[in-house]
């Protein structure tokens, strides 16, 4: 059958992996089994104070580091987190940008939004508002507007917001950006281009 389970295909490797996961989680079942194999009283009978000291130092020097090696996650193991910033740009061409709304989404669940920052131009420096309900699923529906005159609004490509994220270290992040609307100082909608760039980690 083509749909065989993992243990059927590679029983030994699966068992080893299970043991390691159990050790990491402090699986009490494994420890209990070992205690039966080596009765505690028998060990005590043969060891004096010097022997105990040697045993402890040996344990610390050799067994502990070995246990650490087994227990510690690989550097890039799934679950480790770091923080990163994603800049949102809108290119309005020659038309001054007075208002916008975009939808930024984390599409594969590998990042959580932890802050939304305002843009680089004075007209959009205040941190934009977001939809609190949508953001619980890491969809940032973000909007801002400025009542400044056209001369004081940004034109061309400008950073309108920065999304701060907590991301899982090793997984590939998938973001989706859609500009829902943009308007000029008169409130007329016009076509713009929205892009995003992830900043390099520090």
């Amino acid at each position: 059958m083509s749909s065989r389970s993992a243990p059927d295909r590679e029983p030994s490797r699966f068992a080893a992996a299970t043991t390691r996961r159990g050790a990491r989680a402090g699986n009490p079942g494994t420890l209990a089994a070992e205690a039966r194999v080596t009765p505690r009283g028998r060990v005590n009978a043969g060891l004096g104070w010097i022997g105990w000291r040697s045993l402890i130092v040996s344990f610390v020097l050799f067994l502990w580091p070995a246990a650490e090696l087994l227990a510690q996650p690989p550097a890039d193991e799934e679950g480790r987190t770091r923080f990163c910033a994603v800049d949102i740009f809108i290119d309005s061409g020659s038309t001054p940008l007075a208002a916008y709304q975009f939808r930024f989404a984390v599409t594969n669940g590998t990042a959580r939004i932890v802050g939304i920052e305002g843009g680089e131009h004075a007209a959009f420096r205040q941190p934009p508002f977001y939809d609190p309900k949508a953001i619980q699923t890491d969809v940032a529906i973000v909007a801002a507007f400025s009542t400044a005159p056209s001369a004081e609004l940004p034109a061309g490509k400008t950073r309108v917001a920065t999304i701060h994220l907590r991301v899982t270290e090793s997984s590939r992040r998938q973001f989706e950006l859609k500009l829902q609307t943009a308007a000029d100082a008169r409130g007329n909608k016009f076509t713009c281009v929205a892009t995003f760039e992830e900043r390099k980690p520090q």
Binding site: V60, V114, Q202
Partner: protein, 695 residues
Amino acid sequence: MIIRFRWACLKPICTGLFFSTLIALVLQGCRGTYPSKASKMPLSYSRGRAGYVQAGYDPANLPGRTEELWILARGETSATESEPGPGSGTLLAKIEDKEVPMPLKHTDVRASVSGYIGTVEVSQKFSNPYSGKIEAVYVFPLPHNASVNEFIMTIGERRIRGIIRERKEAEQIYAEAKQQGYVASLLTEERPNIFTQRVANIEPGKEIDVDIKYFHTLDYVDGWYEFVFPMVVGPRFNPPGSTNGIGAVARGQSGVSGQDTEIHYLRPGERTSHDISLKLDVDAGVPIEEFTCNTHKIASEQTAPERLTVSLAPTDSVPNKDFVLRYRVAGEHIKSTFMAHRDDRGGFFTLMLYPPQNLHDLKRQPLELVFVLDCSGSMSGRPLAEARAAVQRGLHLLEPGDSFQIITFSMAASSLGEGPLEATAENIGNAMQYLRSLQGEGGTMMVEGIKAALDFPHDPNRLRFVCFLTDGYIGNEAEILGEIHRRLGASRIFSFGIGPSVNRYLMDQMAKAGHGAVAYLGPNDSAAQIMEDFFNRISHPAMTDLQVDWGGLNVTEVFPSRLPDLFLGRPVILAGRFAGNEDTTVRVNGMAAGQPAQVSIPAPLNSAGAGHIGLPAVWAGMKISELADQSLYRPDPELPEAIKHVALDYGLMSPFTAFVAVDSAHRTAGSEGTTVPVAVPVPEGVKYKTTVNEN
């Protein structure tokens, strides 16, 4: 990546060597000590690569957590063992002057009132006066009916809007950001009126602002609107054995109280540079006839008959008592008001419901009054004197045919007599003598006072009113409110908050649970006047058994769901959701002294009526409050989930949600720094000695 790989290899060996050395030292009889807390035994750590030196020890800074090599060494000792220990320099120099530098420099409050809805923006300016990186922790009060829905962290010119998350997740995000060296902030709710602000990785000399915004409804008390901004949390008493209370500890003595949340208080003679500024703009909609502020010195300006601007005087900027502004608007007969707001979520409204004027004309029934006085240590001195004066005035206002009793409590409860006493001259004289003998000392076992008052034999021929006079400085509010719910019976509870910085959440909730009303007696208020207002209120029957006919409105989810009685001079605010576009009239029917009574309120939905952008937040806040109340009386595992759901949908603070903001664009150097709790003064008039836990 290369460095990480190397450390991954070296880490187990280094760990082994470290612990084996440690054990070897122990086996050789070395009696070296290891600090358990930064405040008890500061160490220095130095990083060889950068030569960076910082005082303070934190287990989180140990190798392995930061994946960098650290050399632990005993450092210079600080001036006193009790210092919080972030470092040297400014901290030590200023302690000699009795001014203790703190990470919180300034609080700025900008408030506006439209109708009876207040919008308040609070800006907290944190800075680091120490030589090492710190985390600032500030426990502070807000009005218990505040719907906090905005949180912004400002670093230089960059402003980052915080995200509302489930509390546990927000705490986790904050902890990770802190550990990794990012500037982050976290706002959590400990009680409906007590919040904790944390700001991580503030570098030496740097400033970080945190802005909070909330909406709330104003109280209307005996003809006056009341705007309150609390400035300090009073020292709470927690019953023995409790751990989830609010501890009161001396500055720098973390962990002494054994409570989950601790407030650090400055010792007598100490002060900080933390000050507060406040500006309030009132647009009453109708002319403001008079206003008063008995708590602070203010500057005021009336730009139009219905507009008032008030600012806190710069000479009165110590945040050690509640700011209370009262103003009276024109019109002999205040009318009920309906406010509505629509957005893409639907329609929201609030209804301020005033009692009908004809309640004045109805006679009162014989009364049974039970005065319950808090005689604990926090009431010692002026607060107890004010409470005593209020009760004395109340005894004078009793009429033949009334009865009374006086119960006092601190660690236990006691009473003047065993049953209701007739309001005779002799009994009142004995009561006066009893009152004069009272002194404030000991803890606040309020639950004993509740039990004694509500289990007290009831006189069935009289209307029974139980008057609690207390500052409410306790940490077990849920237990108290639960007992009231269980034991209330035929009693009505009227709570009197005594002092400059009362636990208003407890006082309001006691009155709400007890189907009564609340009043506050500040340091400069007249105790006699407060008691006369109370007697005026209870001397006329309330409008009871309220039922609302919403006219052409399709109304859902009205809070409070159980309509309270309407007492003279005390309106009730309802909030709900609606569908419909046509103007209509809302009619409230009830009974007053056995006679039908009705109040009619126009609801202008189609024409230009009163509205406010904060109404959805106010409605959601009232729903959360109602669900939280229910959780006190009937444990239901679904209630926390329901509260969380509303709070997340509307972006509001709650016990189960929190705001978090992380600046991921910049990572600070070094470890996460030392935690410094912001110490605050005890409220004005409250004695440090009898309230704060000194180890």
